[in-house]
């Protein structure tokens, strides 16, 4: 007996052919960028330079230029760090986990998402460095390097040290994974190159790719191996970041639910950032046929799922605080919701739990404007989630005598702005010089028949 499955709607619309794919994507690399690109670049460079001033002052004068104090030792620095790491989750999740699950719709978005991941992790890494009192020593003292200090060694008990390992591993694997994916596409650009400079550069970047069966076979194997390696990393990075808090004893931090809660939050915010960026790229580069509404809908579904997990985690925290019978714990959560930072908590709850539920409506989750708007809302909410966890737990802990408030300064904001500058500058450079869609992979899902190909010719 023969079973015929229904024909799936094609992931790439518009009757694109293999040749179209090459043409559509490569032309962006080869052609002069549009005016909008220059405008966007100018804005992000402005961010970068204003931010650079703030960063320089922070490093020159000391952490005191921030609004931190004896009670609140971390605020925007670690909030931004966790936020960017969270954003950096989507790329690898899309390319690794969805690869393993054979979700082919990922092919249109994984390149940009991975690029975003790498840039976000770079931004994230900036904060652990700049937040150190003595970064000129700290940047290598946190490494377990053989040294001349005698038997001095790093402290393997410290979650901060685990962070160093987790994030550097994640960054390395993501970068390699991304780069491996880029090699066939670089080769395509190389082959099309009309001037010598780009031929040489893309030639070098493509590592002598010739597109032989051997090349492809190795490419496939490496991709699978890296996907296998990256998959646990997706889960481990944010798990370990959450240990910074979960292993401490501060009420509001000392919470065993943090690892899954942080991972789902990270995926949640990562997908939101992917949506924000891709909706713009899609529009500017006219990639509607590659990134269709179907793609957007899939991502929105992931947002509902992870957003709801986050929401349940929030409620669980509240329940456990009450159920624990620990007064300090109970106070910490009451204070979050009703204390001086109630507005941050309310923002978090609204942006992360309430508004994403709108995606239950098909109309909203397939609307580009609504998606764009909500994706930004989600990222605002996720920034506030980290702020709420870090600042409201610290500012009123055990001894009321030490209770204090945190007020950000220009330099708190400026250093955050700096990472936006880095992120967008890198992303726009990427969009100009690198193929934003994985041509090689997308070609594998093009519905092509001999007739349509013939028709073209």
């Amino acid at each position: 007996m023969e079973v015929v499955s229904s024909v799936r709607t094609p992931l790439i619309t518009g009757g694109k052919t293999v040749g179209d794919v090459t043409q559509d994507i490569c032309v962006r690399v080869e052609a002069k960028p549009p005016k909008s690109w220059f405008l966007a670049m100018a804005i992000s460079l402005t961010f970068l330079f204003v931010g650079l001033y703030a960063v320089f002052t922070t490093a020159w004068e000391g952490i005191g230029v921030w609004g931190l104090n004896k009670t609140v030792g971390w605020a925007w620095d670690i909030t931004n760090f966790v936020w960017w790491v969270g954003i950096g989750h989507a790329g690898t999740l899309i390319s690794a986990i969805l690869l393993l699950f054979r979700q082919k719709w990922r092919m249109s978005i994984n390149r940009a998402a991975e690029a975003m991941t790498i840039f976000a992790v770079i931004c994230a890494l900036f904060f652990p460095f700049i937040h150190m009192g003595r970064l000129w020593l700290g940047f290598y003292w946190v490494m377990p390097l053989p040294n001349t200090f005698g038997s001095l060694w790093v402290n393997f008990n410290s979650p901060l040290l685990w962070d160093v390992f987790a994030i550097s591993t994640y960054f390395t694997v993501s970068l390699v994974f991304w780069y491996i994916g880029l090699i066939p596409d670089f080769a395509t650009i190389r082959d099309r190159a009309k001037n010598k400079v780009s031929a040489v550069i893309y030639g070098a970047l493509s590592f002598g790719w010739v597109g032989s069966a051997k090349d492809w076979s190795r490419y496939e194997s490496v991709s699978l191996i890296l996907a296998g390696l990256a998959t646990p990393l997706v889960l481990s990075v944010h798990t370990i970041v959450s240990f910074d808090f979960a292993t401490s004893i501060i009420p509001g931090w000392h919470t065993t639910i943090f690892p899954p809660y942080f991972v789902s939050g990270a995926v949640f915010s990562g997908f939101a950032m992917v949506l924000t960026l891709l909706l713009i790229t899609r529009k500017v580069y006219k990639l509607e046929d590659y990134i269709s509404v179907q793609h957007i809908e899939f991502m929105n579904i992931i947002i509902i799922v992870t957003g709801s997990i986050v929401g349940i985690a929030y409620l669980t925290e509240l329940f456990i605080a009450w159920y624990s019978g620990v007064p300090a714990e109970q106070y910490a959560f009451l204070n979050r919701a009703t204390g001086p930072y109630w507005w941050a908590y309310a923002t978090m709850m609204t942006c992360n739990v309430v508004t994403p539920q709108l995606f239950w409506f098909k109309k909203i989750r397939t609307s580009l404007w609504a998606t764009f708007f909500l994706s930004i809302i989600v990222n605002i909410g996720m920034w506030f989630e980290r702020f709420v966890i870090i600042v409201t737990s610290l500012h009123r802990d055990f001894l009321p005598s030490s209770w204090a408030m945190f007020y950000p300064t220009f330099y708190d904001v400026g250093d955050y702005l700096f990472t936006f500058g880095i992120f967008f500058t890198f992303f726009f450079l990427f969009a100009k010089f690198f193929p934003v869609i994985n041509m090689a992979e997308v070609k594998s899902i093009i519905k092509s028949t001999s007739t349509s190909d013939k028709a073209l010719k």
Binding site: I63, G73, G133, N155, Y331
Partner: protein, 1048 residues
């Protein structure tokens, strides 16, 4: 291979060993090279090429060195090493801190000839076993560049000789014409100085000494003269009083001799296994003072009713003793009846004191003490004290005479009346009429800058001096460093001007002691031996002085006093009143330029770097003033004609209808640290019954402004939110009857599996946190340092905090950074308000009661055995020592601040900026100029920017103590090692020691039972803050016990 025994030779010369060849054999070139011989060639055959390179290298280096300005760091070695100075080994000199009538017997610690720390002189029975914040900080004032550095005449520098001849000329001129001369001084404790002044008066007979005190106690003297015929301030024996009633006398903070009073008072407050009785303190006052904060019952009263309240108490007691009562307005005062009962039942063992400067009130206080037969028991009139010798009548006479132009010459001896006398403006105006105006002063302050001649005095640490603070008790002051500036001891100046033969004041003091003090004993026959012994001890008591306490009959005129009281005081004044006060930290403002003091918060308001109006909660509501996180509003205070604009602080405990304001601020010519900080409240002092008093009873008004302002408070949340895991207290009755159940003992629930494993330890599924742990713990094979803090003894005086700052080079960060909540103090005193409350919500719990109870809790690093900071540091910069200390390795710290975040006590302090050698922090005198740096403790690192720091349990002292013991071949004995805070504590609330030594004081205090590998604490009052976290601190708190009725 066959060994080659052949020799190869360069030429025939070598083979034949030609002498010509041998001569040049060692040279590079056997013949002179063909260039011109010159300076470069030292002698024939010298290697000129190398010399040339050397010289060139030198000249290039020298030229480039000369081009840049190399910092000059002078380090001059001793030609002959002084016998007593060994680098790295401190020397201690017994001395005496005096500042006006403030007195403390001290030991000065010097390192390589620099005084760096003030320690208490434990031999003194006048100032108790501790120091005070002001005495501790005085060592920094020594290195204050704002001090006068040379004599001046009319603002220009002048030689001493020239100054002397000009002044002597003018003095003689005035004396010849019969013109009046006055020496205006604060209280002089030194008998030798008085003898010097006598010499001066002998030379210039029209001279008179006028003494005043910024905060006068002359009313007591006058009242005692009237009541007992003795114009003295008596010795108050707080240690003999079971009931103490105080009317506005802040005897634990600022009144007369607070150091001794607090140590005496606390003797009756200490409780332990055997001793379960304590005294009871009733305080009736306007502002919440330190004493009020430590009272068992505190009643806020308006200053205008003080006389009536005192008289009412007299009547209550008179009724009990069968004496006639006296008619006075009726007034309802809470706890007054109870106070009367307690006083009556402790007749002869009670004490009533008043801080009033109104002699009428003091007469009534005398009458009450008379009724209670306290005169002769708790009040010792035969041993007068000399801390306040100011005579308000004489001072007023002086001011009038000066204004009337009757005074030709004025010498201000370490006094600044233009600033700190309520008639300062009048004095300033009158000064122009005097012909000769001389200042024997420390700096060009508000008064000195109006004078012709300034003859700068030594700092007391550069001086010889003596003191007689109490009848029969003497002490010596010796220089611990040679004068830093071109100054001269004031007494020497006076002796010079008096034409005294030998103007060496040291000789003078010695001669005085030989004549008057040596003769009071007969144990030692040789004066030099006697003097050396006194100098070594720092103190000398006349032995066998009349200690016969006999009842002295009160002979005052009660009805006259009550008559006066009824005219001045009313039971229900509707108007607003102002109560001025002195803070324990800044005092009368004479040491205002000391940044250590400025940054030490007032123990009650927890505010520093400013003064402010303390207003009651009710008044705050009326004015619309709300306070949050130090943000408040400016208010306008009008007193008579004077208007001041200053911040308002809502002060629980402030009597309704009153406002409070601290003196000691608003200085204008003291130095960059304190100039223009706050407002000067001295001019607001008004006269009641002819004597200046700190209370203004009428014509006071306060109006709100819209201008918001920030007050630098180090603590902005004032209640402990009913968190028993932070503060534990109980009442005396509960403690006596059920000491084992009187306190909160947290228990944590355990799983069934764990319960089976642990067996008996688990009760109802719960266990003491201490009994279980995830950690293996530490082995302490040698010492295990612990600290115990008795919250019953801690009065909040802040001496420990300043002592720590001096000992550990803790930076001062300035007002702006305190506002940013970044003060660096390693030991802080948490002050919590509490009350019986029905509050249920957190917001309600945050609000202090209108008249709350107060608890002081010194808080520093708890040196946890399971330290949360140690596990989280990525680079292991904070670790645990084998003696139980939590150590901070500054060199290793990279400043992630994770440790501070994870510290449940929030005692870790981060160096947000570089606080040393940084113009931005030039208020931090101890680290920002070469002179100030001399005060730094060389045993303690000055921390760099970006590292974490915290209390170390004074590890440098521990190491030093262990080393000294090791040199003697033994273990450290209890008492040899103590922390700076414990050493400074005047009430011995802080005890430091080794709990592995069963004989140590701390082991006895905590009732420690040694179980080999662990120690069990059996003292019921002992608890750890946040015990349930099981971080196992090495700091123990002894819970506070209040001597009050249950639910009263």
């Amino acid at each position: 291979m066959k060994e080659n025994k052949k020799q190869y030779w360069k030429g025939v010369e070598q083979l034949t060993n030609d002498p010509e060849f041998v001569k040049y054999a060692g040279k590079e070139f056997s013949q002179d090279l063909p260039y011109k011989k010159g300076v470069l060639q030292e002698e024939e055959g010298g290697s000129s090429r190398r010399d040339f390179l050397k010289l060139m290298g030198f000249s290039v280096a020298a030229a480039s060195l000369a081009a840049c300005e190399a910092p000059v760091r002078k380090a001059i070695p001793y030609l002959n090493k002084p016998e007593v100075i060994d680098p790295g080994v401190p020397n201690y000199y017994a001395s005496t801190y005096t500042n006006g009538g403030n007195y403390c017997s001290i030991v000065v610690k010097t390192r390589e000839g620099r005084p760096i720390k003030i320690e208490p002189n434990k031999l003194s029975d006048v100032s108790g076993s501790g120091t005070s914040a002001q005495a501790e900080a005085s060592v920094l004032s020594l290195y204050d560049k704002a001090r006068l550095q040379a004599p001046t005449a009319n603002g220009t520098a002048i030689e001493w000789k020239e100054l002397d001849s000009q002044i002597i000329g003018k003095l003689e001129g005035i004396a010849a014409s019969g013109g009046q001369i006055r020496i205006v001084s604060k209280t002089i404790l030194s008998p030798s100085t008085k003898a010097v002044i006598d010499q001066f008066i002998e030379k210039y007979p029209t001279t008179e000494l006028v003494m005043y005190d910024a905060i006068s106690a002359y009313g007591i003297v006058k009242a005692n003269e009237e009541s007992f015929g003795k114009a003295v301030i008596p010795t108050y024996n707080f240690d003999k009083a079971k009931t103490v009633v105080s009317f506005g006398a802040d005897f634990l903070g600022t009144w007369i001799n607070p150091n001794r009073f607090s140590s005496d008072f606390v003797k009756n407050r200490k409780l332990n296994y055997g001793k379960k009785e304590m005294s009871r303190l009733y305080q009736f006052e306007t502002n919440l003072s330190l004493t009020g904060a430590n009272a068992d019952y505190r009643t806020p009263i308006k200053p205008s009713s003080e006389g009536i309240v005192v008289t009412t108490l007299y009547n209550l007691l008179a009724a009990r003793s069968g004496q006639p009562t006296i008619g006075v307005s009726k007034i309802e005062v809470a706890h007054l009846e109870a106070a009367a009962n307690d006083l009556w039942s402790n007749k002869g063992q009670s004490l009533v004191v008043s801080g009033s400067n109104d002699p009428n009130v003091q007469i009534m206080v005398n009458a009450i003490n008379g009724l209670l037969q306290n005169i002769g028991s708790t009040i010792d009139l035969k041993t007068p004290v000399y801390f306040r010798q100011g005579n308000d009548d004489k001072m007023k006479q002086f001011v009038n005479d000066l204004g009337a132009g009757k005074i030709q010459g004025v010498i201000f001896l370490n006094s600044n009346p233009i600033y700190d006398h309520y008639l300062g403006k009048t004095i300033e105006a009158g000064l122009s009429k005097a012909k000769l105006k001389v200042g024997l002063c420390e700096r060009a302050d508000e008064t000195a800058s109006d004078l012709d001649y300034l003859a700068p005095d030594h700092h007391y640490l550069e001086s010889w001096n003596d003191a007689q603070p109490v009848e029969g008790k003497y002490s010596l002051c010796q220089p611990a460093i040679s004068p830093l500036f071109n100054t001269r001891q004031a007494q020497e100046s006076l002796l010079t001007w008096a034409g005294y033969g030998n103007n060496d004041y040291f000789e003078f003091v010695k001669a005085y002691w030989q004549t008057y003090i040596f003769t009071t004993q007969n144990k030692l026959q040789d004066f030099q031996t006697f003097f050396d012994q006194c100098l070594y001890d720092g103190v000398y008591s006349v032995a066998g002085r009349a200690v016969t306490l006999e009842l002295i009959v009160f002979g005052g005129n009660i009805s006259a006093a009550v008559g006066n009281i009824s005219r001045t005081y009313t039971a229900n004044n509707e108007g607003l009143e102002l109560a001025l006060y002195e803070t324990i930290v800044i005092g009368d403002g004479s040491q205002a330029n000391n940044p250590w003091l400025q940054e030490t918060p007032d123990p009650i308001t927890k505010a520093c770097w400013d003064n402010y109006l303390t207003i009651s909660q009710a008044m705050a509501k009326d004015l619309g003033v709300e306070m949050e996180e130090g943000n408040t509003y400016q208010v306008q205070l009008k007193v008579g004609e004077q208007t001041l604009v200053l911040p308002a602080i809502i002060q629980p405990g402030q009597a309704r209808g009153t406002v409070g304001l601290a003196v000691g601020y608003g200085r204008t010519k003291v130095g960059k640290v304190a100039d223009n900080l706050g407002v000067n409240a001295f001019p607001l002092i008004s006269e009641i019954s002819g004597t200046p008093t700190m209370n203004v009873l009428s014509n006071v008004s306060v109006s709100a402004t819209n201008e918001s302002v920030k007050v630098a408070q180090t603590q902005t949340h004032h209640t402990f939110m009913n968190r028993e895991f932070v503060v534990q207290e109980t009442t005396l009755d509960t403690y006596k009857n059920h000491p084992e159940h009187a306190f909160h003992r947290p228990k944590i629930a355990v799983s069934n599996a764990l319960e089976r494993k642990l067996g008996d330890e688990v009760i109802d599924g719960k266990i003491e946190p201490r009994k279980i742990s995830l950690w293996k713990g530490h082995d302490y094979n040698n010492h295990h340092w612990n600290m115990s803090i008795d919250m019953n003894s801690c009065i909040g005086c802040s001496a420990c905090s300043v002592a720590c700052q001096a000992e550990n080079n803790v930076p001062v960060v300035g007002k702006k950074e305190v506002l940013n909540r970044r003060e660096m103090t390693w030991i802080r005193i948490d002050r919590y308000y509490s009350s019986e409350t029905t509050a249920t919500t957190n917001a309600e719990l945050e609000i202090a009661a209108e008249n709350p109870e107060v608890t002081f809790q010194p808080m520093m690093c708890q040196h946890c055995n399971n330290a949360p900071c140690e596990t989280v540091c990525p680079v292991a910069a904070t670790s645990h020592s084998t003696e139980g200390l939590n150590q901070m390795v500054y060199n290793r710290c990279i400043g992630t601040r994770y440790c501070a975040n994870n510290c449940p006590y929030k005692v870790r302090r981060f160096n947000w900026f570089k606080y040393h050698d940084n113009e931005q922090f030039d208020n931090n005198l101890a680290m920002n100029n070469d002179l100030g740096k001399m005060v730094l403790n060389p045993d303690v690192t000055v921390r760099s920017r970006g590292v974490m720091e915290k209390c170390t349990f004074c590890v440098q002292r521990i190491q030093y103590g262990k080393l000294e013991a090791k040199k003697k071949g033994r273990r450290v004995v209890d008492g040899e090692v103590t922390t700076a805070c414990a050493s400074a504590c005047p009430t011995d609330a802080i005890v430091f020691g080794d709990i592995r030594d069963p004989k140590s004081e701390i082991s006895k205090l905590l009732q420690i039972k040694d179980k080999g590998d662990s120690q069990e604490i059996h003292e019921h009052r002992a608890y750890n803050v946040l015990e349930e976290l099981n971080v196992k601190p090495n700091v123990w708190y002894l819970a506070k016990v209040r001597n009050k009725e249950e639910n009263a």
